[in-house]
């Protein structure tokens, strides 16, 4: 039992740390204040209860009232919950069982998954503005560089395949081949027409 308490404590701390960083968090919580959501993961034996209040989200291991929405789902479906179009699909696939207001549930999923977090700002509390900016700038540069490298690598690889080892044709070759095929097709069509013209006279 205390192990489960430890788990719920971890979940609660995680959610609320992210909530504190999320600029929209307070507004979203205000809208859902006083609502209770029961969430049972198919991978776990016991449901957790999420009590939303203006201050934070509380996670309880047991709750004797009636939750506003009761959900049973598998972990893999959590991400798809955001997309309202997919909800019915998930229910049909038996990945999701819902009792209660689906709209509320979507708002709750939004609260947990669509966070606007300014990482640079949060980081600056710990290491100062300058370092935070440098780090975030560095990370951005790194990401761009990696993207560029990936792009180049892809180009190089394509060139090796088409030019060096000739495992696959290059784009010009393909175009040329396609042209030749269409010319051949035209010729064939012409030949067919001529044959068709000649055939009746043979009889």
């Amino acid at each position: 039992m205390p192990l489960l308490n430890l788990l719920s404590a971890g979940i609660e701390t995680g959610i609320n740390t992210l909530q504190k960083w999320d600029q929209q968090g307070a507004n979203r919580r205000q809208r859902l204040a006083g609502r209770v959501f029961s969430m049972e993961l198919k991978e776990l034996a016991q449901p957790f209860f999420f009590v939303v209040s203006a201050q934070q989200v509380d996670v309880l291991g047991r709750f004797e009232g009636n939750p506003d929405v009761a959900v049973k789902l598998s972990v893999s479906a959590l991400e798809d919950l955001k997309d309202s179009g997919k909800t019915t699909q998930l229910i049909k696939q038996d990945k999701l069982e819902v009792e209660g207001d689906i709209q509320l549930l979507q708002q709750f999923a939004e609260l947990l998954t669509e966070m606007e977090i300014d990482w640079e700002e949060e980081l600056s509390h710990y290491v100062g503005d300058v370092v935070a900016h440098k780090l975030c700038y560095g990370a951005k540069q790194l990401k761009q560089g990696a993207q560029k490298q990936a792009c180049r690598l892809q180009g190089n690889l394509a060139e090796i395949i088409t030019e060096e080892y000739r495992l696959a044709p290059g784009p010009l070759e393909v175009a040329h081949f396609c042209d030749e095929v269409s010319v051949l097709a035209e010729q064939l069509q012409a030949l067919e027409m001529r044959l068709a013209k000649l055939e009746p006279s043979c009889e």
Binding site: M1, V51, S53, Q55, F63, E64, G65
Partner: protein, 251 residues
């Protein structure tokens, strides 16, 4: 001789006059109030949070209910209850010690807990509330310090609504001999030292260790709750019985 026995009670391992105990306990908590939360985390290695979480799970708390958090100290339980019962509910944080109450109130205000919480300085033996008033009463790490525990339990029974429940979270007796040895060593040799370094008060923490030993064990407390007319009394041992949660209902 009997007269003398009636007039004294224990304060840790010392025997003091009954009317002095309240004052002596008050001194202890005035002294530790400011560092109370830090010391709790340090002394229990943060496990007290798990104990309190278990208590809340056992409370059956629902939106709209009335809760009394007795000896609520710095308001750990109150904060959670306040959020769960919501704007329709009501939480009373009661403590006999005004230093603790002040620290608790400041802390809860900082957390944004307001509107449905009331702060009352009250003695658990004579609760200043009407009969059949609360859905839930909790007393976490507080019963130990009450002078007349039976009177306090009867007083709690009186203010509890029929169908309501009482939760007593308190230090208790460990079942395993080895754990008990380690625990004794820890609480008599290490704890006062920690108290000296952090809160600059070794005596208060020596009192803590002693008062835990003087507190009735699981079965005795269960009997005391039954004597105070609580029904369906049961207890859960936590962390090998270092702490026990007693639960009783009023029907």
């Amino acid at each position: 001789m009997t007269q003398q026995a009636d007039d004294t009670t224990h304060f840790g391992y010392q025997t003091v006059a009954t009317e002095d105990k309240v004052e002596k306990v008050a001194e202890v908590f005035h002294s530790v109030a400011a560092k109370y939360d830090v010391m709790n985390d340090l002394m229990s290695f943060g496990i007290h949070r798990v104990w309190k979480r278990f208590t809340i799970d056992c409370s059956g708390i629902r939106p709209g209910q009335k809760v009394l958090d007795l000896a609520g100290g710095t308001g750990d339980l109150t904060a959670k209850f306040s959020r769960v019962v919501g704007s329709q509910g009501h939480v009373v944080l009661a403590d006999i010690n005004d230093s603790m109450l002040k620290v608790g109130r400041a802390k809860l205000r900082d957390l944004g807990i307001e509107g449905n919480v009331e702060y009352v300085q009250a003695n658990a033996e004579a609760l200043p509330f009407p009969d059949n008033h609360f859905d839930l009463i909790t007393i976490a790490f507080g019963l130990r310090n009450v002078t007349d525990k039976d009177k306090a339990l009867r007083s709690m029974y009186r203010v509890l609504k029929p169908g309501g429940r009482l939760l007593v979270l308190e230090f208790s007796k460990t079942e395993q001999a080895l754990l008990s040895k380690a625990y004794d060593f820890y609480s008599f040799n290490i704890l006062p030292g920690m108290g000296k370094v952090v809160a600059n008060d070794a005596d208060s923490y020596r009192y803590l260790a002693e008062s835990i030993r003087m507190h009735p064990d699981q079965e005795t407390l269960k009997g005391m709750m039954q004597d105070a007319e609580f029904e369906g009394v049961e207890y859960f041992n936590l962390t090998g019985g270092i702490v026990a949660l007693h639960r009783g209902y009023k029907f």
